[in-house]
Symmetry: C2
């Protein structure tokens, strides 16, 4: 389990502000640029670290917003400058991944591409590699392949993919037909899903032959397909800027799940590979707290532990990111996120509602803090 996979290319869409992780994550310095696990590597770096052994050197491409290109290049110098694609504006995941697919086809022909978000946390390198290898086999057979994560709880924060019959693909013994996708369910439905044993979390990791993806796109969203093909043809030429300026702003804004995964699954064209590694999208501070090791008192501290002085505050999450001393007295489950220009104080139970604070600041015109 260590050689790279011939003809396999990884695409990392690096977008999304991570609003629920404010004030750590900002529009100008989003989640994927942060080390959220205390490993010394940012989420983007960890994503690249995980993929380079599978693609081989030069096999990873990053698609990100223009304002983040410099930060991305600085963080992952092993990705060639030409493989960091800059989007002039955010057009959602289908445009980002489709652009990468079209550029890859233009440069390298019909590769198998795997798309992996820049801001997820994965633990279990061998299981991840095994799932990717099976997924590549299924992609070669023509499927759009999603990795279905073994659900460890009836989460209402994730979408689910339902597994159907085994497909009997060579090199992909665990690959099954995807019987369908569901959006984030309510608690009751989530519990039912888990009980059936057929549902797995849809982590948004897709593997597919680039030409298969573009063909589906041509069928489902011809405007988007044509725009991306035109942009890709111009990408490595002096016309790139002009074509981008002409075509990009009018590309349909749509997620790959809605654009491809759901309609193609309905037609029997999607496969699911079991991913039996631990995975989290670090969607909020409660999810972040669960990823961090606890102190002897059960607190979670992302940063120097000496900067947190906690008294009677069990399960506190403290992020002392401003170098200042943070003292908490008598607030169990508190969340304190201390940055140089903004401070958030809340509780784990309110983690999903942090966006309301960001909305309040935006309404108050404090955009410099967002």
């Amino acid at each position: 389990m260590s050689s790279s996979i011939p003809g396999f290319r990884a695409v990392i869409p690096a977008g999304g502000a991570g609003t629920r992780l404010w004030p750590l994550s900002r529009a100008g310095h989003p989640k994927f640029l942060h080390d959220l696990t205390g490993s010394g590597r940012t989420l983007l770096q960890q994503t690249v670290d995980r993929l380079v052994p599978l693609t081989g050197a030069g096999g990873v491409m990053v698609v990100t917003g223009e304002r983040h290109v410099d930060a991305v290049r600085a963080q992952v110098p092993e990705v060639a400058a030409a493989d960091v694609l800059a989007e002039p504006s955010p057009r959602d995941s289908m445009a980002a991944i489709g652009l990468a697919a079209a550029v890859l086809v233009h440069r390298h022909g019909d590769v198998v591409l795997g798309s992996f978000a820049a801001d997820h946390v994965i633990d279990g390198a061998d299981a991840f590699e095994g799932a990717v290898r099976e997924g590549v086999a299924a992609a070669r057979a023509g499927y759009v392949v999603t990795i279905g994560i073994a659900a460890t709880e009836p989460s209402t924060a994730f979408g689910y993919v339902r597994s159907g019959a085994l497909l009997g693909i060579e090199g992909g013994p665990g690959v099954r037909l995807a019987a369908g996708f569901t959006e984030k369910p309510d608690a009751e439905s989530a519990a039912e899903y888990l009980a059936t044993g057929e549902y797995r979390w849809n982590a948004g990791m897709f593997l597919v032959r680039a030409e298969v993806l573009l063909d589906h796109l041509a069928t489902q969203l011809p405007t988007l397909h044509d725009g991306l093909r035109a942009i890709a043809a111009a990408w490595d030429t002096p016309d790139r800027a002009a074509v981008l300026a002409d075509r990009w702003p009018s590309l349909p804004k749509i997620a790959i799940d809605h654009a491809i995964a759901e309609p193609v699954a309905a037609a029997g064209g999607v496969a699911v590979v079991p991913g039996d590694f631990s995975w989290d999208d670090v969607g909020d501070f409660a999810s972040l707290a669960a990823l961090l090791p606890g102190t002897a008192e059960g607190a979670r501290i992302l940063g120097p532990a000496t900067l947190a002085s906690l008294v009677d505050s069990a399960r506190a999450l403290v992020i002392p990111a401003a170098g200042r001393q943070v003292a908490v007295l008598g607030i169990p489950d508190v969340v304190v996120v201390d940055t140089p220009d903004a401070l958030l104080v809340t509780t784990l139970a309110h983690a999903q509602q942090v966006k309301t604070v960001v909305d309040r600041l935006r309404a108050d015109g404090r955009v410099e803090l967002l």
Copy 2:
């Protein structure tokens, strides 16, 4: 009610770290140097503002630690440099007030002095002035006089003074004999005190003729008396430093309540003047919150209101003293004190326990934060 009182001098002992107001109040920048009411004047300045009309210009003396002398002089330039007495080390309130009394006698003869802490908040100038005028009359008659504050609730945070018979003093129609002092009571006793109508809060405001005070001191604590007399005799001479170095370190460390008020009251020498103004010693953040005006949502903000973004956090107390944005989500009664090098997050209910955080920091060797 506006002319100054002949022969009356005010002494302001400006000591005490205000540990329960950490990290706003620090050893190097204690409570009295802060504007805790948002008035634009610090507690020390408000204390001087309140007293100068009663003493006349030049009638206020401040006794403080050596390290605070510069800050005191900068904050209250109307107090002459010679009237800011620097203590080489803290020896508690009896040494501070006794030193002022001895220096005043040496300079001016037998004045009436009134001692008022530098870090209390008073509302009701006319009632305060009336009480002081009655107190001065009783002091002239030879009593040690304390101002007893009308208790508005059965507080367990304050000591009490019990009133006895009216003394019939000219110019002091409300002055009664002090039947005794009590330490901070438990809740049951406090309720009983309030029910009798005889008990008032002992706010530590004393009025007494300087010679009477020194005579009591000579009786109760002759060593302290002799040391202070010797220091006072040298104060305005080149020998001050030498005598201070020789005598000050060995002076008994004792509060004026224990040194004078209690034993003299037992002998019938203490009078109590009713003080029907509002008073608070701002002992902790809950007490501070109660002094501040509430926002429309019932929050209390000491500092620029635009720096506090509060969602579902009723009765929050926020002190944005570092210029940073403070966002709180979903923690009613929260207390957030944000300073440039340290942050405290707690609740109003834990206000009295802030000292445990300070103790923890001291144990961890973080003395630079105290």
